[in-house]
């Protein structure tokens, strides 16, 4: 697939390298001469000096034939404008914007960006998971941001302890995808799987089901 990336900073460059390694065709645009030169000296003509918010520069980068358009500059406003131009002018099938301000994540999706990656949210999720005994750990958002994967530790004495999975009523749309025992052994969940205290369940859930899910697995009668 042909991928156009706006911004040749750490994220854009790292992504370009990993995609080149898997045989994708990649092209980067950046406003910084030094960054572009450094990429060209290593990888040849995969980068060009240009502005992701300029239609002419986007046309020259071949956005019209790109299967994926990624705006990964450090400037949220530029990333939005680039993705909107890619969509509106070049009918990009898929646009992705990186945002630094988490407030912009929902807004950009509402404004037509197909997928938004919030750096702050990702870092916060990862950091929260390092805090011991955190009740619900958000492991990752899933496509479209409306669903996510979470981990919940079952406390001793919880109502679900010694119950079979088939007996537990989960919030609508949620499903347990893995059960991890206290020593780290993993078990593929079956209806007859019996939960134990200190087990960790990995669940895919709609975002709005997170609270109910937490109550289901941690409530102590």
């Amino acid at each position: 697939m042909y991928i156009v990336i706006i911004g040749a900073g750490r994220i854009g460059t790292g992504l370009a390298k990993s995609q080149l390694a898997t045989g994708q065709e990649v092209f980067l645009l950046d406003r910084d001469d030094a960054r572009v030169e450094s990429l060209r000296s290593t990888f040849g003509s995969i980068a060009q000096l240009g502005d992701g918010t300029n239609v002419t520069n986007l046309r020259e980068a071949g956005v019209a034939r790109a299967g994926l358009f990624i705006a990964a500059t450090g400037d949220d406003a530029v990333n939005l404008a680039s993705c909107q131009l890619a969509k509106q002018v070049f009918n990009s099938p898929r646009t992705v914007a990186v945002v630094v301000d988490p407030e912009n994540a929902m807004l950009f999706e509402a404004l037509g960006v197909d997928d938004v990656v919030s750096l702050t949210d990702l870092a916060m999720t990862r950091l929260a998971s390092t805090v011991p005994a955190h009740p619900v750990i958000r492991l990752m958002p899933l496509a479209g941001r409306h669903r996510e994967m979470v981990a919940i530790k079952i406390p001793a004495g919880a109502e679900v302890v010694n119950r079979m999975l088939s007996e537990i009523v989960l919030p609508y749309g949620s499903s347990v995808i893995l059960v991890i025992g206290p020593t780290g052994q993993t078990e593929e969940p079956r209806p007859e799987t019996v939960l134990d205290a200190e087990d960790e369940v990995i669940v895919v859930t709609p975002v709005e089901g997170r609270q109910a899910l937490w109550e289901t697995f941690t409530e102590i009668p």
């Binding site: 918010t53 300029n54 131009l85 002018v89």
Partner: protein, 139 residues
Amino acid sequence: MKVVIMGSGRIGARVASSLSADGHGVSVIESNRTQVMNLSRTLVDDGLITLVIGDGSGSEAMLEAGIEDADVFLALSGNDALNGLAAQKAKSVYQTRRVVCRVKDEGLRELYTSLGITVTSPTALVADVILQTVPDMPG
């Protein structure tokens, strides 16, 4: 009428003063302290122009400037993409009735116009005025 202006460069500051002189309530959001110098000191000190120092497209500054009950939002900074983001936010998040966005780039002008935002391009306006001063050339 209540007007929130983003950007107190020469254009933003001048629009702010004129609107204030006409009796409108004006708030100005500016992130750069040196740009604030463009605003009339007396109007700010007398409380006729409310100055908010902050990120022009951030909710915090927009709310402090009173975007929720503003009739008009003018994105007049020198940064096209930032103006576009702030204007779309005013329109879609705060449902501001009238939103105007200053844009230099022609492609962005078309984009924002297609999104229902009133776009003004000082560059194009100046060019038009200059062209009007050129006498008609014989065909």
